[in-house]
Symmetry: C2
């Protein structure tokens, strides 16, 4: 299993605090030693840092911590390998271009008996996760060769997620830089921080941050993670089958699917 | 105009020496202040570092210099913007997946009256370079929906390069991680280092390296750059219309096209 981290914000926000907590689980307080990655949207561009090394030992992870990159949409992941060897090609998040946008995806879980037919998008590595991502994009492209608004797209995303979920555990984050989609099959938590901001204390490291000092009253920042990252705030736990769509920190749509 | 850097080697080799020289031209000894990027293949995975900031001032560039990443195939680029604003989305090299492989591309030059029809691959940013890369991949995919050996692919690459060249200046580097293709429309230089190795001195920085101490007798390392990076070695200058294909440091094929 792996851990996911996502952020959607209405102003470019640095995610160093949450990333610091997540990183500890990459071989420190958690067993996710098989690589990590984090993708920051910057306009239509995407900055991707990845390492097949454990995040607690990664030189690149230290750069990300030292050098706060501000972004409105972020997807991060730390990996404990189950399907696919430990290698850069098997390290999340995965990225593909669709409709002239960078789409980015990370998955927590494991899919059994999952062998989608190859079509346009094909996995580079050998994880079930990248195979699901490629299949999802192939479904989107088959349904909509030309761009459509996310509201029209949503049923395809939800239906695909439901399909993968029947093959095992499928918690995921997906973004095209404009919106962030989250699907929970077993475990996902979320918090939206807005004024009045207070202090937050990481569960996995001796770090306390006073968001009041780092924000303006209009900031809205939503963080999504496999498990709550702080121990003094109230996180919302997703239910199995629950999905949400975020843009600029605010929830645009949500719902829950049966088994 | 921009500067290109490519490497093809038969053993994982670090490119810190050449990158150090190139970086100086990014706002130091050269005017290419509008971003830089470098992509390292690692197995089928690709590590991409980019920054729209000048390379001499880039924190990420300092990481790449400090933290030698060994790779058999590398494509790097520093940019002086002509078409497209300075942004991450407009920063080379560009990457797309084709046939389950990461394809990577960087371009030096400028294309006029160039508006290829959109097809499967579409530019994320607004450079002529990314438009040419997408068009090239669309041509490859149209010719070969399924993977073919590079020998079969080569005529499509050369024909596409000839087409772009008629629109202006088109020096490029292209790789899928297995081979490295270089096309020269105006300016490109290349050197292959093999035993007996000697010392090399950068033109753009006070750096001398003794490759003898850093290599084994079987190493073969080819470096391709817009202009020679060292001043004490003999570089081969490409002729206009000349192209080469490299794998593991050795030249597999080469040729020259008329106007």
């Amino acid at each position: 299993m792996c851990e996911l981290l996502g952020m959607s914000a209405n102003v470019p926000t640095d995610i160093v605090f949450s990333f610091t907590g997540l990183m500890q689980r990459g071989g420190g307080t958690g067993p996710h030693r098989d690589g990590w990655g984090i993708a920051f949207y910057e306009g239509r561009g995407l900055r991707l840092f990845q390492d097949p090394a454990a995040s607690v030992e990664s030189e690149v992870a230290r750069l990300v911590q030292r050098y706060p990159i501000k972004s409105e949409t972020v997807i991060g992941h730390i990996r404990q390998a189950n399907v696919g060897q430990v290698s850069l090609a098997n390290t999340h998040p995965f990225v593909r271009e669709l409709w002239g946008r960078n789409w980015c995806f990370a998955h927590n879980g494991q899919l059994a008996d999952f062998a989608p037919s190859t079509s346009f998008y094909r996995p580079v590595g050998d994880t079930d996760s990248e195979a699901a991502f490629c299949d999802l994009l192939n479904r989107v492209r088959a349904a909509f060769p030309e761009p459509v608004p996310v509201e029209a797209l949503l049923p395809v995303l939800i239906q695909a997620a439901q399909h993968y979920r029947r093959h095992g555990v499928f918690n995921c984050l997906l973004s095209n830089g404009d919106w962030l989609f989250a699907f929970c099959s077993t475990k996902l938590a979320q918090i939206t921080r807005r004024a009045p901001f207070g202090p937050a204390r990481l569960k996995d490291a001796e770090v306390l941050v006073d968001f009041q000092a780092e924000t303006t009253p209009n900031d809205v920042v939503t963080v999504i993670a496999t498990e709550p990252l702080t121990d003094n705030e109230r996180w919302n736990l997703f239910q199995p089958g629950e999905w949400s769509l975020w843009r600029r920190g605010e929830r645009l749509a949500h719902g829950q699917m049966g088994e």
